[in-house]
Symmetry: C3
Subunit: 458 residues, 3 copies
């Protein structure tokens, strides 16, 4: 039976060629287009006369490494909560990320650092590539357990591309600020994934219902993901902001916002259960909403008080979402959201975008001083006033929602192509169709005893 | 029965209001008192003329992130060694820390950075808040499994406040040096927790004895905590020290001290067991004593040799404590110390304080050169000689022990208030009274089979 | 029976004296020879007039911490894949590392920073000590489960010493470049361990065959190791390179190389299995080959395209090694390589050395500009041309292979001394002979019930 279902997913026939094709295409495109920038190229760096400490590496690499940990450990382990899908959660997270970071280097490079026919890369490219990968992993969370790695790679190909388009429109054309990606990463990734999950709706998913929950140890593995996401979120939001006060303030705001969202999540989780018991799903996810909600406004002068308020509300909204909205999403809107990305990334992302618009609308020369030209260059240079910046921010949110939904819809149709075998309804959330899964200890012992019996008899 | 016990702990009635109350109070106090400092405020930072690289963020943020990892991953997973208390260990660690870091920002702010009626915050506030949280988590270790989250939050409220008072007396009034907190964090946290545990003594705790040990996988989860604490301890001790040689030397000393304590722990662990087998409890805990013992002296010129000696002794004392002292503490002194914080933080902390006094008493202009004014400013400025600095160091230890004991006693009485339902003796070290615990895999499979049977029959 | 086997390994009689002896010798040698260098010594640092930011600590400490995480978390958890050897994997990894980093401080110090009879240490010593430890842990992987901790400590003593000799010959005498250690760490550690494993060949190891595999949870623990190794490898390769563009470029190259090796590993793993299922062994190990293969050339101008190509090939070679070469190594060459270090470190290390020679041979003034004197000082100063540098690189590989093989052979003979009891063939890969292993949960519950019965009866 296992063999049949593995055949059904077509891993051997489709995954290797797809990986080779993608990797070969990336290698060829890199050979034509990608070059070291002036901070990574030996000749270019030594041409100018500066201290090594001026190299952007020292301003951003420690933050990058925290982001990198979030992408591969944080997202990866967060999704291991499913009882029989740990290999796939951490493994496909690994595969999709390794692909997405390469592909997004090209896509983002074409949009952001394409000069004279070449893409120039350095630590900022690495941060941006990891950020884009974050959006892909959010979408992955919405379809976790119901899609094959082949489908997921195709999803990533499309999503990374559209992420680049959306980001280009927001940051370059509209002049929107969104350093920590409340819009470009969280809102985009969530609604892309949710619409895609809607298109892939399975009416008989209850056949795998018994595998959808966690077991004791899988919840502990998931907490590795949660905590690493939580502790390094200040680095995530601050990694791409302006050096000096910008990175410093963003990290600080995120730190306090997360503290508040954790307290409100614990409070609501105990309040909402019949017996006053805490729910691991809330703690693992909603406690993180404080990081999402200050993604746009974290670099702005939201004040420590504002950061706490934002986090507090985000934790509440997110927990309420898990408790009340998620069942409705499935029953009424036919959206099966495995990880509840709507609650952790969707709603807090939109809230973060609105908060960013509000704070941008309140920006004054007095509050920001000479730093205004770092945070809101278009206002500082007189091209806009604060109100119009706020309007652009809102428009950016609108564009993101439209592009994400369109992309998710197209992606869903693509993934429904008959040649892309997805796991049968009765085999969702199951590692065994994709992985050589070891026998459990007890089984092994018994098998060993059996083989000893056989030897004795022989 | 599960419902009764959950009711008994009063989680639903007490935890949500307490979390909301605490968070609301913190938000209001932040709105009145807490402001960005000159390195996180856009206007203030850009008013002066300096390079972005001068921002303290770049000197301390990487170390801060290591400390943050220790608090949330290190302490959190270290306490998951209990077989049925993993959710609570990592979950309450998360809750207490998220609360304590906010509350200590206010308490420490009032004592250390209160100017013109405002508290100014930046990365140093974050480090200090995490440090104070460390003390709370040490105390948590002493009462792990025997207290409800409501009790623990009240404990944190009190302990953070007293921590701030004690730290203010030591660092500001007495001019004591204690960068890595042998006294302020480890000694304070340990004796606060131990006295508190004494007041909460349970004579019938043996009813939960069968749940007090570990299982194979829980010991591996605990090792995640141990190793992260071990590897990042050099960052912990060096995070708040003077920039330049100060941070560098502190990290180096801690690195070697930990190496030595690990070897002496392995040696003693094998030596003390009847069969020569290693004990995971020793490895998980006593190997870390090398970090505690150089908490005070790590920034001083203890020499690499001195660091090794200190770590070597700390590992021995700590392992001996686990083997011989801990049973006596329970049987004679009625102190039930779940995690053995007396062995890891108490004794090594006191030893570290004594070592700090010794090394301070040996300080000379010759050894420290112009760096004397960084490490011992009062000696460099002629306000004290080395001997009197040593006496002040000892007095600081005395004050810490007194305040911690008093605080723990008061805290214990507070936590014994009848309205604060603590878990019954037979339900200690048990997640099920606080958490929705998933059915184990085997149970689920059987339930699924049963439900299929039912469907077939219907 | 357990007691007999524990006695057989002689842990109680041999491990404590050995640990004490080693630690005492190190402490004494430190007291005579080891001193703070000019960046960690208070007096020396403050003698000269520089900004604190110039302290090497700020250039290298964040990278060092990533390396430290790789050594203790990465290698440690990677080896927990065995079903009943998790305590030993993470525990002996801890012990060997804590010893090796101290001992290699002395050995490397004598060779690299011995001035006026003293060894001067700082963050670079810490990085180098961790690097040397990495080589020891690679060798540990080859003999995992088949050697006692006493044997392993003796192996480390020898290997650290020879590592220092080999590194001195390559870097100082031959002027070879090998920042990330394709030769000095990976090739050396792998072939030392493989030859050692050959000498320790067990013809009846099949008696422990049933314990050689993984279980579901142990594979997830191993993935913690894999992912931390993967994400921090850019810091590993860049930690010791030249500041500025050097560290920046090395990190970038490693990042992309790893991405490519991950894709080729997934592709080949699915391709090579009969049912198209992915194999955790490949994902846990071969995906990392991209980091090994750019160990030598990562700091050079290999171009982003070159980094991708190198990683792509390394992933393929490594996966093929696991699938086809490993069984042959055991059956034909009598090398039992528990973790497959030949596939992850051996072949990719040699490939990395060859790639380094190739890229060195292509070095031109035009490509490197004034940076040539950082990357290839001997070429820049006219002592060599690029071709002769390439020849020296190849000669360095040859020396490494010879010394590693000799060392492994001697080490193997040493470890076969009859007084060094190694675990019996039937007790390999088994924690129980070295550790107090807790009863499993079900056992405990039953025991508890039994004891309650007894009480009732009494």
């Amino acid at each position: 039976m296992a063999r049949t279902s593995s055949h059904a997913t077509g891993l051997r026939v489709q995954l290797p060629p797809l990986c080779f094709l993608f990797q070969a295409a990336i290698i060829i495109l890199f050979s034509f287009f990608v070059r070291y920038n002036h901070e990574t190229d030996s000749s270019l760096w030594h041409r100018s006369n500066h201290s090594d400490m001026d190299n952007d590496f020292y301003f951003r690499y420690p933050s990058f490494q925290d982001v990198h940990t979030m992408i591969f450990i944080g997202f990866g382990f967060l999704m291991t909560f499913l009882q029989r899908y740990g290999f796939s959660s951490i493994g496909f997270n690994f595969l999709l990320s390794a692909f997405s970071l390469q592909w997004s280097t090209l896509v983002q490079g074409f949009f952001h650092s394409f000069h004279g026919g070449k893409i120039y890369i350095g630590v900022e490219s690495m941060i941006n590539a990891d950020f884009c990968t974050g959006a892909v992993l959010i979408s992955f969370g919405a379809v976790l357990g119901k899609t094959s790695p082949v489908q997921l790679l195709l999803m990533s190909l499309l999503e990374v591309t559209l992420f680049g388009v959306n980001e280009f429109i927001l940051l370059n054309l509209l002049g929107v600020k969104d350093a920590g990606g409340s819009m470009t990463i969280h809102t985009f990734g969530a609604y892309f994934g949710l619409v895609l999950s809607r298109v892939l709706y399975r009416s008989h998913l209850d056949k795998s219902k018994h595998r959808e929950g966690s077991v004791y140890h899988s919840d502990l593995f998931a907490m590795i993901g949660t905590i690493f996401l939580w502790i390094f979120w200040p680095s995530f939001n601050s990694a791409p902001t302006n050096t000096g006060d910008g990175q410093h303030r963003t990290a600080l705001n995120t730190y306090y916002s997360l503290g508040a969202s954790t307290l409100s999540t614990f409070a609501l989780s105990a309040l909402l259960s019949r017996e006053g018991k805490l729910d691991m799903v809330h703690i693992q996810n909603a406690a993180l909403a404080g990081g999402v909600v200050v993604g746009t406004s974290g670099e702005m002068m939201i004040t420590p008080f504002g950061a706490l308020m934002a986090g507090f509300l985000a934790g509440i909204i997110s927990t309420l979402g898990y408790k009340f909205l998620m069942p409705i999403l499935e029953s009424k809107f036919k959206v099966q959201d495995t990880c509840g990305v709507h609650n952790l990334h969707g709603m807090p992302g939109v809230l973060g975008a609105l908060l960013g618009a509000l704070v941008a609308g309140l920006a004054t020369h007095q509050t920001y001083g000479d730093g205004l030209k770092s945070v809101f260059p278009l206002i500082a240079e007189g091209h806009r006033n604060a109100t119009s910046q706020a309007v652009y921010q809102l428009f950016g949110l609108f564009v993101t929602l439209v592009l994400a939904s369109l992309g998710g819809g197209i992606g869903g149709l693509l993934l429904r192509l008959p040649c892309l075998n997805s796991p049968p309804d009765s085999q969702c959330y199951e590692d065994q169709i994709y992985w050589e899964v070891p026998l459990e200890h007890e089984d092994e012992v018994q098998e060993h005893l059996r083989s000893e019996d056989t030897e004795t008899q022989a």
